[in-house]
């Protein structure tokens, strides 16, 4: 391996901006999701057809999972968390499609998602409990713990990012190394394992974001 796999592989340029494979995979996923939702919602009926039933089952499963963790009405958080889970599942599984490259295997996509989680935790926390009560959480149980509380905010966002990025990138690495050492058919079990890893990482990212938001709005410790 002479070329670092951390480098982006550039597909084409829009003006001076280079566009790499991971970014275009993100755009394809976004376009697919928008088209799917638009087509399904245009023909929606009370007696649902096939695609609409699948989407309803998906949404209801996510909703019941979030309700168990948050222990309150999850609908205000469904657009963020449900959308994040569906996008992450598709993004982590993008390696199955020939030519697709998981955007989560590069640091920028997990970083932006972790930043979204970081800011929305504070937004929902302040909106649910008011600024004073929310900020008082940081000097609980003792004002001496303020630096540690602030530090834990940063480290948990960082670990959210590195967990997703590290898992997806290292899995790509493993497949590349096995392919280089062993040839054609041996990477197949590893790729099957990759489906499991991708789904579990999407699940864990969403669950952790939910736990953080739940802790912020209820005032308990995460």
């Amino acid at each position: 391996m002479d070329q670092s796999p951390l480098l982006p592989d550039i597909l084409f340029h829009i003006g001076p901006v280079p566009i790499d494979r991971a970014v275009s995979t993100t755009w394809v996923i976004m376009a697919l999701l928008c088209a799917l939702v638009a087509l399904t919602l245009r023909g929606r009926r009370v007696e649902a057809g096939g695609v609409q039933s699948i989407l309803e089952i998906l949404v209801e499963t996510i909703e019941s999972q979030l309700r168990e963790i948050l222990r309150r009405d999850p609908w205000p958080f469904m657009p963020l968390l449900g959308g994040m889970f569906i996008f992450l599942s598709l993004a982590n599984l993008a390696a199955i499609v020939p030519g697709g490259k998981p955007p989560t295997g590069h640091i920028e996509t997990p970083a932006s998602l972790a930043l979204i989680v970081f800011f929305s935790v504070h937004y929902y926390g302040i909106r649910a409990r008011g600024l004073g009560a929310y900020l008082r959480k940081y000097i609980q149980p003792n004002p001496f713990l303020l630096p540690l509380n602030l530090l834990s905010e940063l480290t948990r966002t960082f670990s959210l990012m590195v967990r997703l990025f590290g898992n997806m990138m290292s899995h790509e690495f493993v497949i590349a190394i096995v392919l280089m050492l062993a040839g054609l058919l041996l990477p197949i079990p590893f790729m099957a394992l990759g489906i499991l890893i991708g789904l579990i990482q999407a699940y864990i990212f969403t669950i952790l974001a939910t736990v953080y938001i739940g802790a912020a709005i209820s005032g308990t410790e995460a």
Binding site: L6, V162, F165, S170, I207
Partner: protein
């Protein structure tokens, strides 16, 4: 010389970074299995908590892996 030391450093980071997370993940899974066997109706809550805990533990191993990959592919000292 720096390359050789970097490779040795990466190997040590990955190997020691794999031992303890593997051990502690094994202990966590064993405890969760025991709890599910005692109380099968709590399996949903237990396995969700188990997954989140495993992710937390595994982050440590991933940190070591990221350090090792930085040493191998983005080493700041080799230029």
């Amino acid at each position: 010389m720096i390359e050789i030391v970097s490779i040795i450093g990466a190997v040590i980071a990955v190997s020691f970074g794999a031992i303890m997370p593997a051990y502690s993940e094994g202990r966590a899974i064993a405890a969760a299995m025991e709890a599910i066997a005692r109380q099968p109706e709590a399996a949903g809550t237990l396995s969700r908590t188990l997954f989140v805990g495993l992710a937390m533990i595994e982050t440590m191993a991933i940190y070591c892996l990221v350090i090792a990959l930085l040493l191998l592919y983005a080493n700041p000292f080799t230029g």
